[in-house]
Amino acid sequence: MRKKEMLSMLLAGGQGSRLGILTSGKAKPGVSFGGKYKIIDFPLSNCINSGVSTVGILTQYQPLILNQHIGIGIPWDLDRRNGGVTMLAPHAKTGEKGEWYSGTANAIFQNIDYIDANDPEYVLILSGDHIYKMDYSKMLDYHKKNKCDVTIAVLEVSMEEASRFGIMNADEHDKIYEFEEKPEHPKSNLASMGIYIFTWDKLREALIEDNKIHADSDFGKHIIPKMLGEGKTLYAYRFKDYWKDVGTIESYWQANMELIQTLPEFNLYEDFWKIYTQNNHQPPQYTGSTGSVKTSLISDGCEIYGTVENSVISANVVIEEGAIVRGSIIMENCVIGKNSVIDRCIIDQNTIVGENVVMGVGDNVANEDKPKIYNTGITVIGSDTTIPSNVTIGKNCVVSGKAESKDFNGNTLASGKSIIVEEVVL
């Protein structure tokens, strides 16, 4: 059997708490993006398009949606006899109690057996929460050409932004001599994208040694500085294309809105680098005679009887007659009732909005409970939520759960207020 050259480990266990209610029931890689996709589809599709057909997905926080979404990997052609996709959740081990994944490198450390069983020469470490297209095989060529122990994909950011990232200080050949995590006074603008290629035996050794020192072993904090200190060969691999971190409500909304431009920077319409997703049932999309759609993405199975402008609509959404949706993101299986007006909102999946609802009006008052998360005017409605008819909802609001008219004081939810209806478990 041919030896596996490179195996990929995709870190998909993080919550992404700055996405607020969107990640309350699912890990960040499971959040919808660009209409029909989920965030994890981008790195997964990059893997298969780069010829990396053995992928371990490390899950921890709320994995149900990811497990359902990925299954045995059919949409990504990752249903393989040899390799393919494997979901790797934290697990108990003989003689000791089970442990959570306490850090990025610790998660890989706990799955050394999985990697050894596949016996790769190189291991690609990815995180499941960025939007980009990248040919990892080119990065591997670079890694081999420079005889690296580690190659770190980097993005050139502005000097002002640099202090928010892990920064690589490199010589004129892009050989890294120093790594600084979120430096106050950055010396370079090469920001780590959290994408690494390691020569497996070098990484294996480092993981085992570091685990003896740090119980929460992390690539940025421990493994990279350790390997640099030991005089290993580390190179920065410059990535010049589109790459988006969608970590906050505002950046998530912005990245979606960029896709509706006439010529978006990020092109989903290429034939030779397709993004795959779970979509076995692919009905067409219908726009009715009362409908009007402009500057928007509309996914499979939607029925549009109302007006949609500057919005991204996921699969199987129904927008009833007279409803107006502007500058919003509506996720799969939602229904927007007759004559409701939705402005600059994000509505998570399976949510039913009643008739004559007005959403996203009023002053821009930051959310009272979580002002750091909801402060740019975008109102966010959680998944599986019901919004009763005839209510008005302001800006920076959060509504989640089966809300009823009585939950709305005088049919109005002022800007910055929240309604969270806990599910009653009988």
Binding site: G34, G35, K36, I74, P75, I260, T262, L268, Y269, K274, I275, Y276, T277, N279, N280, H281, Q282, P283, P284, Q285, Y286, T287, G288, S289, G291, S292, V293, K294, T295, S296, L297, I298, S299, D300, G301, E303, V308, V312, I313
Partner: protein, 372 residues
């Protein structure tokens, strides 16, 4: 009850003209994202029939492409699964399929090696949703030799002269059968070409008629044995459309603009499955004006589209107007074009300013790959 499915997808239809030059009717694109055979294949797997043979002959490349994997219909199985049969040369046979019965006879090993008691035989080019288990149960209840699914075409636009017409007694036992009658038909029960028969009986009949050099299922089994066998009619009153002519094909697609029809095939479970193409969502740009239309994924719309069915990856430029038309996958409509009553096949390019206008009762057809 366990059954095997036989889909006879070998046919072409001269009445579909250029559209069938490049594909079998079973591979005709329908309803913006399907091919005709998806409906029958999905009916099979949705009815719990896990062993299905598709028999092809005419122009089967695009059908083979579509059936390249059985997993989309949940037919990628060790027990059963999807079989695709084409004519082949052997020591004692060098014929093409000489008829529908012959196409099954030439694959009789498939029937003999199976152990499912019943066989359901259908075509592959009609649009309907049906639970075949209901027919098998009916077949068992009636203790029938053969059950023919039929439809009462009174008050429909279906022409009785295009169908086999059943005469049945009050128990639905068939008393007579006439294929495509020239005179006024004796009844309004039209055969839909869907049959249930016991596997062992089918093997026996096929061997008998083959020995007599007879090759047609309808002529040499149904018509010839109409009095000898216990044949029953099973009335189906759901949506059923054939796509055997340009007009029928056009109308069947336009039916998908009707919410009730979409509910049957798109909204209500069980779903009709097709081979995924992984196109991004449909993109409406600022000049888009879409009224009463189906838009396939991956399409980019800049102009006016109404009362039309657009398949995947259609590009409609600004200033163009598309009305009452079908535009298949990958076609490009240039600027300031006027398209009306047209069926535009795959990968066609209509240059800027060109008009393509057909008649309401006779849509114009632009063949695959044309650059106009």
């Amino acid at each position: 009850m366990k059954a095997i499915g036989l889909i006879l997808a070998g046919g072409q239809s001269d009445r579909l003209k250029e559209l069938c030059d490049v594909r079998a009717t079973a591979a005709m694109p329908v309803g913006s994202s399907y091919r005709a055979i998806d409906f029958t294949l999905s009916n099979m797997s949705n009815s719990g029939i896990n062993k299905v043979a598709v028999i092809t002959q005419y122009n089967s490349r695009s059908l083979h492409d579509h059936l390249s994997s059985a997993k989309w219909w949940d037919l990628g199985r060790k027990q059963g699964g999807l079989f695709v049969f084409t004519p082949f040369l052997s020591k004692d046979n060098s014929y093409w399929f000489r008829g529908t019965a012959d196409s099954i006879y030439q694959n009789i090993t498939f029937l003999k090696r199976s152990n499912e008691p019943y066989v359901i035989i259908t075509g592959g080019d009609t649009i309907y949703k049906m639970d075949y288990q209901d027919i098998i149960n009916y077949h068992i209840d009636k203790n029938a030799d053969i059950t023919i699914v039929c439809k009462d075409i009174k008050n429909t636009d279906m022409d009785p002269h295009d169908f086999g017409i059943l005469e049945c007694d009050e128990n639905m036992r068939m008393t007579d059968f006439e294929e495509k009658p020239v005179d006024t038909p004796a009844s309004t029960l039209a055969s839909l070409g869907i049959y249930v028969i016991k596997r062992t009986l089918l093997i026996k009949l096929l061997e008998t008629i083959n020995a007599e050099d007879r090759y047609d299922f309808v002529r040499d089994i149904i018509t010839r044995y109409r009095k000898k066998l216990k044949i029953f009619g099973y009335c189906f009153d759901g949506y059923w459309k054939t796509i055997n002519s340009i007009t029928n094909y056009f109308n069947a697609n336009m039916d998908f603009l009707n919410r009730d029809v979409r509910n049957i095939f798109i909204k209500e479970k069980p779903y009709i499955e097709t081979k995924p193409k992984d196109e991004p969502p449909a993109k409406y740009n600022s000049g888009a004006e879409v009224k009463n239309a189906l838009i396939g994924s991956g399409s980019i719309i800049n102009g006016y589209v109404s009362n039309s069915v657009l398949f995947r990856k259609v590009f409609a430029s600004d200033g163009s107007s598309i009305n009452k038309s079908i535009i298949m996958e990958g076609s490009t409509i240039g600027k300031d074009c006027n398209i009306e009553y047209a069926i535009i096949d795959k990968e066609v390019v209509i240059s800027d300013g060109k008009n393509v206008i057909g008649q309401p009762d006779n849509p114009i057809v632009i063949s695959k790959g044309t650059v106009l």
